[in-house]
Symmetry: C2
Subunit: 376 residues, 2 copies
């Protein structure tokens, strides 16, 4: 039987020990037993976000928490800056528009990171901006942004700094408090190693002041309701109980290793994968490659989707494709959560085998050798 | 070892075969394999809702879908009628107020069902009402409403008919299309036998016209985005994949038996439980008891929470308590989803044992005998 290797940037593979934990008989959520679990989860998330502020857990996909990060701090008519360098950056802008919030877009070429000075310029011209919205890792282009440098600029202004860390957290370094982030938005199905269905927002003191002034209507994603429920170590609406139980196990694993060690492991796997692709003569799409996910340019004359299809059907390795204008041009491999050394090597072997089948010339085994050398 | 019997009206026990299904390695959602599962789930839900219209699946708790049923069809300044006879009826009103929608409340005593003529009166006085919002089973009081009779009235007006079937579906009879329901709102953790984390809305043709005119801001819960994604048998944002996979199994089980047979089974269990309580000399709180959940009045001089605590700690049976003014006065037992004959008998045995411990006089075994007689 072919083993399956899920290399997509969400969902990532859920380790067996976590799946077993989630498969136990369900418990009721208004109990001391569940409250203890929820408290551990909240504390565990704070360690990974590197924050001493609030972290709230929503039952929703990551987009729900993105909406929460807009509607809880903005009012109709406000202006926000949105960095648009891929599909997920664009989403912040779409949410803002749905709520009558003006978007000042910083459009950058897909695969590039924003220049902090450009953000500084926009903020100088528009001192009334309510928030700067960006991503840590823009998944669609596998590009990591310099969140620390942008934070140095935004923290000196009245604007809030909102970062979508959905794909990056646990693979690319992230320091919520040290970098001056006011709201970080995350999802469960990437670096946190559980299935999709939970989403998270950190909320800083500076953000709470904006919450008080916000006039966007909201109910399900209302931060104030989550803050109030937190007094009873609870959520205002029924949590996805089994996912929270799985998350407790995942956070135990990550925090026992130490999040910095987990990030270092993934960074090594990402580097191994990139060097393997280069050894095969392929190039990396992004100018600022993330450690959470790598986008590889298909060689001239070969459709990236043919590589993906061959890897999936013949070798059980699932990569993600390019989106919109990148369709057929790139394939993407993740390096976070439950994706480990075995996944990395097996996926490189599959790329080699697929490329050989598709008539691409390269030195067989050179990719795997380059990766093995780095991973040790 | 004590076995555990979860008798709460959500979450209900998740049968082992469904838990095993959900514990398999996760698959990616943008695949033919997942699309086929999602199509089966959507078709299966339509059978249980008894609708030929749309049914959308959200990753959220039931409250998220309640919000969807308001913000997709209303505009700020609109008026809606909300039947308030318990905690969940009140929630529709709170959501509406958060979006600047005027609420005409039909307040009824907790434990009573609304009188359809009262709703008719309100609609005559207020011909501009946008929608009538009510629950099928008001979980907090274990009361079922006459949704069919109210539907006869509302369908003759321009108002939409929105019903929260979160607790009732699969236990109390419900016929979306025949009864003229425009939006039915449901959750996953009750009659549908899976953990919390998914929520659903049916949407009628009449409701779609209101969607076009609606001016409430929305993004994550926007029906139009779900409708568009349904063309690709997909959701606009990442689904809670494992829960959808579990739901497919649950729907297979329910639809193989036939939803009407499942409802008849639960009705028999509910009747058995009620007759057991009466045989013990206890009384039922609701004037219109639901088959999804029963609220039992604690006998004079005994705290309902003491009964609940004894059942839980000594016999592994978890009941729900009364909320707000009913705290300490009632205990609630569910009869839906994975709650079966064994649960029913074991929970009655626990009530008998707890009452005996708490000094209440009754004929030992009379409750179990009454229930066994009905269940056959």
């Amino acid at each position: 039987m072919t083993k399956n290797y899920l290399m997509t940037p969400g969902p990532t593979p859920v380790p067996e020990e976590i799946r077993i934990e989630m498969s136990k008989p369900i418990i009721h959520h208004r109990t001391k037993e569940y409250q203890a679990i929820f408290k551990e989860v909240t504390d565990g998330l704070k360690k990974i976000f590197k924050t001493s502020g609030d972290v709230f857990t929503f039952t929703s996909s990551g987009t729900g928490a993105m909406e929460a990060s807009v509607v809880n701090v903005c009012s109709p008519g406000d202006k926000i800056v949105v960095v648009r360098g891929g599909k997920f950056g664009e989403r912040f802008g779409e949410i803002a528009k749905a709520y009558g919030i003006e978007v000042i877009a910083l459009d950058i070429p897909w695969g590039s990171a924003p220049c902090p000075a450009d953000i500084e310029g926009i903020l100088k011209k528009n001192p009334d901006v309510k928030g700067v919205y960006t991503t840590l890792c823009e998944t669609s282009t596998a590009t990591v942004y310099d969140i620390k440098a942008i934070g140095e600029i935004v923290r000196k202004t009245q604007a809030l700094y909102v970062v979508d860390v959905i794909s990056g957290l646990g693979a690319d370094n992230f320091e919520n408090d040290n970098w001056g982030v006011d709201i970080a938005v995350c999802g469960s199905q990437k670096g946190l190693m559980i299935p999709p269905g939970l989403a998270f927002c950190s909320v800083s003191e500076k953000a709470w002041k904006a919450v008080e002034a916000s006039k966007c209507p909201k109910f399900y994603f209302n931060f104030k309701k989550y803050k109030k429920s937190m007094l009873d170590t609870d959520t205002p609406f029924t949590s996805a109980i089994t996912l929270v139980i799985g998350l407790k196990k995942a956070l135990d694993v990550i925090n026992k290793k130490g999040v910095d060690n987990v990030i270092a492991e993934h960074a090594k796997q990402a580097e191994a994968f990139r060097q393997a692709m280069k050894a095969l003569g392929l190039t990396i799409f992004s100018k600022s490659p993330s450690n959470a996910v790598t986008a590889v340019n298909a060689p001239q004359g070969i459709d990236a989707d043919a590589i993906i299809k061959t890897c999936k059907t013949e070798f059980g390795v699932t990569f993600a494709g390019g989106q919109e204008t990148l369709k057929g041009k790139i394939f993407r491999a993740a390096h976070m959560g439950g994706i480990d050394r075995e996944h990395t090597i097996e996926s490189i072997k599959a790329v080699e085998a697929a490329l050989a089948k598709l008539g691409y010339k390269f030195s067989a085994g050179s990719g795997v050798a380059a990766a093995a050398k780095i991973m040790g």
